[in-house]
């Protein structure tokens, strides 16, 4: 499984870890990781520690996640990005939409 989810005991925080290539092939799995939760989490963490590559479809998936989590009212952090991934996020200025570290 290249998309692994973890929900905090109080159901308020959802962590989605993406491993390997974060591209169009992950589309289904990524959506399922947040769409069918019994309780909507208050905050979401996308952990890219083991993500090796990010392309524009991954950016699109992040946008879908943000839209699902409330758009401007969402609380989404993208953490553990490698320098390559950070560069891609920086060029697309996604740090204006997500908290990136």
């Amino acid at each position: 499984m290249s998309v692994v989810t973890e929900v905090s005991p109080d159901q308020k925080k959802l962590t989605i870890a993406v491993k390997g290539r974060f591209d169009f092939g992950r589309h289904q799995e990524f959506r399922e990781s947040y769409e069918r939760l019994p309780h909507k989490p208050e905050s979401i963490v996308v952990d890219l520690k083991e993500a090796t590559y990010l392309d524009s479809s991954a950016l699109g998936m992040l946008l879908l996640l943000r839209d699902h989590a409330g758009g401007d009212n969402s609380d989404i952090r993208v953490v553990n990005s490698s320098s390559d991934v950070k560069k891609i996020l920086a060029i697309s200025n996604f740090d204006k939409l997500f908290d990136i570290s």
């Binding site: 524009s56 479809s57 950016l59 699109g60 998936m61 946008l63 879908l64 839209d67 401007d72 060029i91 697309s92 200025n93 996604f94 204006k96 939409l97």
Partner: protein
């Protein structure tokens, strides 16, 4: 268990008793039976009757079962006609021969009905499975052809839309790969009524049809608004709003937009999500990077959208170079990226600026081992104003009824000045007068100059002498943005008056502002200076219009245009 569907079964067996026995067994199981006494008869019967399944004795006179099986399999082609060998051969070598000849199974003598029925059923299932596979394959192939055709149509429509611009202008050089559309790359260029040039290099998410579908409305907005005289900011706002509205949430368009002004010798830049562009200053050899400061188009709502641009001075022959991410992302055999550093190396090594594209393509080829087919690059240079000119807009009305004797006055106040650009509207209004259409470029330039002078020097109190060097240039535009944002009071008035005169007519334009004015006499005395970045506005107005004059201590400007009706 499903009942076995009746099949037509060919029994090839040379022993009459065995043939009779088997036929009876098979008929009792509900099937229709054909018989043959040797291999040759079996092949002929197969050709004529097309049975669904064959029970084949291995050793027969004339032609044995192995040869008959080979021929029948060849005749069957793609369809599966199961062949069950009837044999009392026990050696494994003989059994292997059955399979090699194309046999699918074998039945030992003495015949066991139960086993025979089971084998027929199993073979029939395989037969039907193969038929389904072939059917679905044909269906998929047909759909695939449809899709390819749809893409071809989309591409043809898109070409018409995307290439109605001025990419062939003398100051533009571009390279767009054959698969650019199919990679979502978009390259547009168009003249404004004032003779400025808007250029856009875009990169849609996705490929093929989804990208093309998003690109078309975008191109329409770009061309429509540019032709009407809207600036970059307004065009960007409209493009962003449109994409946000029509595209799904996960689709967006990275883009770099440029507005080159030959008259004011500057370039305005907006980069949302694209790789760095580069402004190459010929005199110093410096390459100024133009990085992405914005999110791509189609993501932010209208309220959140940031239309702030950066403005840089340009000298004649300076160039702006833009490229799609296909260049940076090129990989070699070890999955190493070409990257920005290598691109910088190509820049440094480049001796002939006109060969930049070739140098980059060569570097990519050397790196990757082969050429890439999905790279877009564009280079726009600043030429002398005389060389750049726009195409006249096309009108579709007959010109029978046009307003020839009228006047209109407008006052734009405070907060409106911040957001609203009245120029496209005013120009459209004036172009209702047919006699003025041939001068639309000059009209727009003069209107724009008077309006921006009134707004920037008058209402905002900016000093254009700041624009004498690059640093000052940047500072000027920063201050402009800041003061505009804070603006509460002030106005710019525009008066238009059209009257018939002789065989043609006369237009008087008067623009007033609420500012402090300036020393008109002193400015008029200065010689017209083409090298200096500032202060050319007044010269332009005097050049393009007639009877230009300033009054009320510089707060009011007036200029006239005339036309004659051609016989």
């Amino acid at each position: 268990m499903q009942a076995q569907e009746p099949l037509t079964i060919l029994i090839a067996e040379d022993s009459a008793a065995d043939r009779l026995l088997l036929s009876t067994i098979v008929r009792r199981q509900g099937h229709q039976v054909l018989t043959a006494a040797n291999g040759a008869e079996a092949v002929e019967c197969f050709q004529q009757q097309q049975p669904d399944l064959v029970l084949m004795d291995a050793l027969m006179p004339v032609m044995d079962g192995f040869e008959a099986a080979r021929q029948i399999k060849a005749l069957a082609g793609e369809a599966l006609v199961p062949i069950i060998f009837l044999t009392s051969l026990t050696e494994s070598e003989a059994l292997a021969r059955c399979l090699e000849a194309g046999g699918d199974d074998f039945l030992a003598k003495p015949y066991n009905q139960v086993i025979l029925a089971a084998k027929i059923k199993a073979m029939d299932r395989l037969r039907r499975l193969q038929a389904t596979v072939l059917q679905q394959r044909d269906l998929i192939a047909k759909h695939h052809d449809y899709l390819l055709n749809e893409q071809r149509v989309a591409k043809a429509v898109f070409d018409k839309v995307a290439h109605s611009g001025c990419l062939s202008a003398p100051n533009i050089r571009y390279l767009q790969s054959p698969y650019a559309l199919f990679n979502g790359d978009l390259l547009l260029a168009a003249y404004t009524p004032a003779g400025d040039m808007h250029v856009m290099l875009g990169d849609f998410t996705g490929h093929g049809l989804p990208a093309a579908v998003g690109a078309m409305p975008l191109a329409e907005v770009f061309y429509g608004m540019t032709a009407k005289g809207y600036g970059l900011a307004e065009t960007l706002r409209e493009m962003n709003a449109k994409l946000k509205r029509i595209l799904p949430v996960d689709m967006f368009c990275c883009a770099t937009l440029l507005s080159l002004s030959f008259q004011s010798r500057s370039v305005e830049v907006w980069n949302g999500g694209m790789p760095d562009g580069y402004l190459h200053r010929m005199a110093s050899g410096e390459r100024v990077p133009l990085p992405a400061r914005h999110l791509p188009l189609g993501i932010l709502s209208a309220q959140a959208f940031d239309d702030r641009t950066d403005v840089y001075p340009m000298a004649v022959d300076d160039r702006v170079f833009l490229l799609s991410d296909g260049v940076i992302d090129t990989c070699d055999a070890n999955d190493q990226l070409f990257g920005v550093e290598r691109l910088q190396q190509v820049f440094s090594a480049n001796r002939e600026p006109d060969r930049l594209f070739e140098d980059i393509e060569q570097a990519l080829r050397d790196f990757r081992g082969q050429a890439r087919d999905d790279v877009s690059m564009v280079e726009v240079s600043l030429l002398e104003s005389a060389q750049a000119h726009g195409a006249a807009p096309v009108y579709s009305d007959s010109g029978q009824s046009c307003p020839l004797d009228w006047s209109a006055s407008f006052e734009f106040r405070g907060a409106t000045l911040r957001r609203f650009n009245p120029l496209p509207f005013l120009l459209q209004l004036l172009l209702e007068v047919h006699g003025l259409r041939a001068q639309s470029g000059a009209l727009y330039s003069v209107l724009a100059e008077l309006y921006s002078n009134g707004l920037e020097h008058g209402v905002l109190g900016l000093d254009s002498s700041l624009k004498r060097d690059a640093a000052g240039f940047a500072r000027y535009y920063e201050m402009r943005a800041a003061r505009l944002e804070a603006l509460q009071d002030g106005f710019v008035r525009v008066h238009l008056q059209v009257q018939p005169q002789g065989e043609g007519g006369r237009l008087v334009i008067r623009v007033e502002d609420s500012g402090k004015g300036f020393d008109v006499a002193r400015v008029m005395e200065r010689p017209v200076d083409n090298v200096r970045l500032s202060g050319r506005g007044i010269g332009l107005v005097r050049q393009l219009g007639r009877n230009a004059s300033w009054s009320d201590q510089g707060r009011s400007a007036s200029v006239e245009f005339f036309w004659e009706i051609e016989a």
